[in-house]
Symmetry: D2
Subunit: 132 residues, 4 copies
């Protein structure tokens, strides 16, 4: 996500109900969601038993990323619940992929992307709670 | 959702980790999610201040519906968290739309669809807990 | 798609650049796209070699349906190109599923949904050209 | 898109029906689609009259990016039609955003992202035709 995009978002994110938040934490989370959507989509192509959770995780990560690009449409409660859902979905997908991460480098990559996305979502939750 | 689709899904839903669940409750929830996605998409076209939450709700409802079509990719924890996120997002969208439901029949329709989707998601949660 | 939704859409669809079109043709196409998205999503769960085209088709059908719910954001040229893409993607998916339709009732259902979606998209194209 | 992802994709992209293609051209196109989806999503938040086309363009770009991550599910005809649809949708969105690009830096950014996405899709088309 480049500087011009970040500036554009800063202008629209002043929703009264949302706590002030470190823009860099949000940016990192959106990037992690986008990377996880891509990794999961590729991993689902392997037709291994992780595929259904990879597809679900790809959709949830895309929905999460878009929600962060549309903060005026979020309230703290829905934001927290969406972050929890994204974390839980990444956990499920990572658990499935870790079962054959030794045999499949793609699953190992996907599990890494899920872990990074979970961490980034947790950082947004922490930032929200610190700012509340 | 027609009978042939339901039969097809029944065949794939035997994931050991998911509790047995009334197929009719799931079917009703998928239909409510699909209807809510459409209502929110139409409502967002009005360019009123509910539009951002309508867009977020449309995405979350589509992701929820797809997840229910891909139950082998869900674990109980991620399923519960996704249902909670869908309920919370519908609540936020409904709250926004209710602010001008008297002036806009489209917002009234959208708020109704959000309420129906929330109820349907709660029914799935109840069924999951009863079966656990 | 119910009557209230149709009425809501009629109010927003008066984009000068789009030819007048039979609302019933559009409604039928949106319903066919939604049904095809669901059928393809279920079919992709079988992990047969049609799965990648089923996933692509599910995404294209959802994007097509949403575009028809957001006609003020379409121009005739983009509408035509999107319909062509949806038809081509359904064709690819149907071709894949037909290869094992005899063995898999889900693939047979998916191929039927693809065919119905293609027909519905062609009907919208015909209506657009007749109204132009 | 990082090196490990590219390597993972290279392994799955050997579909007989798809012409050999420069991986860098595909990678650039996926990155342009992802950037355009984000720019359009942000631009649609402004509630200007470009918003509906921005939303349509965001969905089409995401569908296009995913299709490129799932090449085993594409045939040359559907790939070409999807690229044409993405180009046409970006054109419509860019035309709308250019109308107020002087007043809105976000619209200017969005129009730039649409132009870059169109160029990247055309480069993929050129590569497909050269390899056919």
């Amino acid at each position: 996500m480049d500087a011009r995009m970040m500036e554009a978002m800063a202008g629209e994110m002043s929703m009264a109900e949302m706590p002030a938040m470190d823009a860099a934490v949000m940016q990192a989370c959106m990037d992690a969601c986008a990377a996880c959507e891509q990794a999961c989509t590729v991993c689902s192509m392997q037709m291994m038993d992780c595929a259904p959770s990879c597809m679900n995780c790809a959709d949830m990560c895309n929905t999460m990323m878009r929600a962060m690009l549309r903060m005026p449409g979020m309230a703290p409660a829905s934001m927290m619940a969406m972050l929890d859902a994204c974390i839980a979905m990444c956990q499920t997908c990572m658990d499935m992929c870790m079962m054959h991460a030794d045999d499949s480098p793609v699953c190992a990559m996907c599990a890494d992307a899920c872990r990074a996305c979970m961490d980034a979502c947790m950082a947004v939750k922490d930032a929200m709670m610190a700012a509340a």
